[in-house]
Subunit: 130 residues, 2 copies
């Protein structure tokens, strides 16, 4: 194979991996994946969602090691929030806890959260168009 062809093939594979939902990157063994289940005081729900959204967006955009944060609430029980969290590794998670945006979030929501349950999980399959 010519150098040029090899280069074209390599670029093609990289672009496909980044852009078209190839999920092999997401299955890195070092990754730390977790589900957080949070129950929120109903009177504080809107404030809580605003603070969580801010923290999710700041964490993924500012921290290289925060891969994915998906936060949702139950349609039938809107005070029940679930967050799927994917960090590059345990170090990235430790670093996340020390960021200004995470500390601000924890302080803001301290009196809004009535329970928090953290479950470490292991990926079976991750596939996404984005």
């Amino acid at each position: 194979m010519s150098k040029q062809k090899l280069l074209r093939l390599t670029i093609g594979i990289i672009v496909s991996s980044i852009c078209f939902g190839n999920n092999s990157f997401a299955q890195d063994k070092k990754q730390m994946v977790r589900i957080a289940k949070i129950v929120v005081d109903s009177l504080q729900l809107e404030n809580y969602k605003t603070a969580l959204k801010e923290n999710v967006e700041a964490s993924v955009s500012k921290e290289a090691g925060v891969i994915t944060l998906y936060a949702v609430y139950d349609k039938e029980k809107p005070t029940h929030v679930t967050v799927l969290e994917i960090y590059a590794d345990a170090e990235a998670y430790k670093a996340h806890l020390q960021t200004d945006h995470f500390k601000k979030y924890k302080t803001t929501v301290a009196k809004m959260v009535s329970s928090l349950e953290l479950t470490d999980v292991i990926p079976i399959a991750f596939a996404s168009k984005k």
Copy 2:
């Protein structure tokens, strides 16, 4: 702004949105988002995971309306599986149920699953590097 500049800006925005984790697309109001909690017979766990992985990968790669399927199991309770499901809309979900790969999955796992709980959820914030 010249036509050329506008074109360049437009292309830039599209490429950024696709490649660099801009999550605005993921918050489409029509999207159907769900958490499935499945408890699996411990003797069938490996077979179940194989069947689930096959279904996840086929669904996202073959169906335009299946946006994301993230399947994990609890580290402490490996028979407890959770799947975060994102479909483009309710129609895409209905179409998913009629596909050969989904029907094959349902038949294969029928005797492996001891409970299945489906919870409709609403996004608060989705952010991901992929």
